[in-house]
């Protein structure tokens, strides 16, 4: 494995002026999108995916990956300044970040988040570079049963981790799988559940669905309270955001732990940046010598989770690129993009499209460096962008949703579909369902169905094939546990309540 020549190839791709420009655009738009309350990484990637259709796939993914990194940081800005997480991976940052802002230390909070993100992102890329080829080579031996079992793990874990209630999480996933079934059957060629509508015979495209659920759905949820947030006045110049030596001493191990933890959580299918931030916060509070300061402006409580979410965003690329299994809603949308560009993610991607994979990896280094420069030098600018009234921003986002959905196939039908899923996304969000699980299932559905049917065709023992091959069996059992454990727990809790009700 020749890392140096691969990386050299990668940098030669990433450093072309156009790709560099795309990375800058991605980071800047990412920070802005992340900073807008309610518009998170999945909506950002879904809205900008149509812009990449005219480009080389490599330039497209470079922009989207830079955007993803940018949104991770953008969410931090609102968490610290207005106590409103721009996206779910920054929820934890609110706890101590906003307390720091109240104490007049918003600058160092944003600064340590930027440096932590940079360090974590950079080490994350190194780990990505080392782990992916190994994983890709390992997964070359996968047959349909292993692939299906792996997808099962991805589907069950994302459901487990995103929804408020396990039942609603699984319902969301099933809705996604049902939508994935619509259209021509891969084996027999029959159009299923198309109801004679020509647009539905080719299946339901994930892009209008994703734009609707995340973009329009979030706008509708935000429409109820269209009040602009108020930002505490403070100084956000370059000197004000530099963390002091004491801040560094307190944060350095938090950043290191957050990086490692975040990356490996990110690699797990299903567990994304958000989970890593909660774990990192819990770990920091546990190992801290002064846990009582957490919740009152402890800088470790910002540094650890913020490092973890960037490392996890990088780690999430690993299963997407090597196995073709996205770990989060955002990477599911990127995966859909890869497939639209005609690339088949999975072990062969590294052999067939080295300039794509290594260009992406190299551009991640560059994006991280740019993120550091932009985020420290231009914080005042982003703070100003936050002052744009939501009543102006919201209608503009709707226009992006409409044009984005339209541009996929130049079809007004797709726009209507986007609108329907926007309403569904609003209801799902309000009622505690998981749009992320739906999108993930919609993207994985056709691949999972093919793997399932191929497995059953080659099997002599029906579904026994998923339990007889060692790798498939391990993965299947893990997926089943993810379903069974919460179910048993829920039943036990219901029984206990019932007994209490009878006894009391």
């Amino acid at each position: 494995m020749d890392f140096v020549s691969n990386l050299a190839l990668g940098f030669s791709v990433a450093l072309t002026p156009f790709n560099l420009f795309m990375a800058v655009c991605g980071v800047v738009m990412g920070i802005l999108i992340g900073a807008l309350p309610g518009v998170g990484p999945p909506s950002g990637v879904a809205l900008l995916l149509p812009l990449t259709f005219g480009m080389e796939p490599t330039s497209g993914i470079i922009m989207l990956a830079a955007l993803y990194a940018g949104t991770m940081y953008g969410g931090t800005i609102t968490s610290v300044l207005i106590n409103t997480p721009g996206e779910s991976a920054s929820v934890v940052t609110c706890i101590d970040g906003y307390q720091m802002a109240l104490q007049g230390r918003a600058g160092p909070a944003l600064g340590i988040a930027a440096f932590g993100s940079f360090i974590a992102g950079t080490f994350g890329v190194v780990l990505l570079m080392l782990v992916s080829p190994l994983l890709a080579r390992w997964s070359l031996s996968f047959g349909p049963p292993e692939t299906f079992a792996l997808m099962l793990v991805g589907l069950t874990t994302v459901t487990l981790l995103t929804g408020e209630s396990a039942i609603k999480g699984y319902i969301s996933m099933l809705l996604g799988l049902m939508l994935a079934v619509v259209g021509f059957d891969i084996v027999s060629g029959e159009p299923r559940f198309a109801f004679g509508i020509p647009e539905m015979m080719d299946g339901i495209d994930f892009l209008p669905v994703a734009i609707g659920l995340f973009g329009l759905g979030e706008v509708l949820a935000g429409a109820e309270e269209a009040k602009g947030p108020s930002i505490p006045h403070g100084r956000y110049g370059l000197r004000d955001v530099m963390p002091s030596a004491r801040d560094w001493v307190r944060s350095r191990w938090a950043i290191a732990r957050g990086t490692v933890l975040g990356f490996f959580i990110g690699v797990l299918p299903g567990a994304g940046p958000t989970v890593s931030t909660f774990l990192s916060y819990a770990v920091e509070k546990k190992v801290s010598k002064h846990p009582e300061e957490f919740g009152k402006g402890a800088i470790e409580g910002v540094a650890g989770p913020e490092s973890a979410n960037n490392a996890a965003a990088t780690g999430a690329m690993v299963p997407m690129l090597t196995l073709g299994i996205p770990g989060s809603a955002t990477t599911a949308i990127m995966l859909g993009g890869l497939m639209m560009w005609g690339l088949r993610p999975g072990p062969l991607l590294f052999e067939k499209n080295p300039q794509f994979v290594w260009g992406l990896i190299a551009s991640q280094y560059i994006a991280n460096a740019m993120l550091l420069v932009l985020s420290t030098a231009f914080i005042p600018l982003f703070v100003r962008a936050l002052r744009v009234p939501y009543a102006i921003l919201m209608p503009i986002i709707v226009i992006f949703c409409v044009t984005g959905a339209y541009s996929l196939k130049n079809s007004v039908f797709d726009v209507g579909q986007m609108l329907v899923f926007g309403v569904l996304g609003y209801a799902m969000k309000k009622l505690g369902y998981s749009p992320a699980a739906l999108v993930l299932a919609l993207v994985l559905g056709p691949l999972a169905e093919r793997a399932l049917r191929q497995s059953l065709i080659i099997s002599d023992s029906g579904i026994g094939i998923f339990f007889m091959r060692p790798i498939a069996a391990t993965l299947t059992v893990a997926a089943l546990l993810a379903v069974v454990v919460p179910a048993v727990r829920a039943i036990a809790a219901a029984l206990r309540r019932w007994r209490e009700a009878r006894g009391g």
Binding site: G54, V181, E225, V412
Partner: protein, 151 residues
């Protein structure tokens, strides 16, 4: 949320049953050499029916009505305004063309949500509608719907 859960549970139960039954009725469960087109849909429908039943039972037995999930008053007005204008925008795309439809949509919402000043509203609406059209038409080469005026 209890009412919404009951409603959703009943609807999803019907969906699951209809999906499984429809799959079995219209397509083959087992083909000549393996599972047919109805195989996965049948099990998906069945699983949905089971989960929806669980949701329904939980919602029927729940003692606490929970919080209302739909907004009231000003919030509801804003929600309906945004939803209504977006629906109108989608329906009018082919009739008025992208530029005119977006322009009207933006003006209605800028003025309707929060009464932004007229000059600001018009300036932002014209800039966004124009930019959106130009970027997609000329850079990305997506033919936008055009109205009777040719744009």
């Amino acid at each position: 949320m209890r009412g919404a859960d009951r409603f959703a549970g009943a609807g999803l139960l019907a969906l699951g049953v209809a999906f499984a039954a429809g799959a079995l009725k219209q397509y083959d469960y087992w083909g000549p050499n393996g599972p047919g087109p109805a195989f996965l849909p049948f099990w998906l429908g069945l699983a949905m029916a089971v989960l929806a039943t669980a949701l329904l039972i939980g919602a029927i037995r729940a003692a606490d009505a929970g919080d209302a999930w739909l907004p009231r008053g000003e919030g509801l007005r804003r929600l309906l305004l945004v939803l209504g204008s977006t629906t109108a925008l989608v329906l009018l795309l082919d009739v008025l063309g992208m530029v005119v439809a977006t322009l009207l949509f933006l003006l209605v919402l800028f003025r309707g949500i929060d009464r932004q000043p007229w000059t600001l509203s018009v300036a932002v609406a014209v800039a966004i509608a124009g930019l959106n059209f130009l970027v997609f038409t000329y850079w990305l080469r997506v033919p936008m719907p055009v109205g009777p005026l040719g744009f």
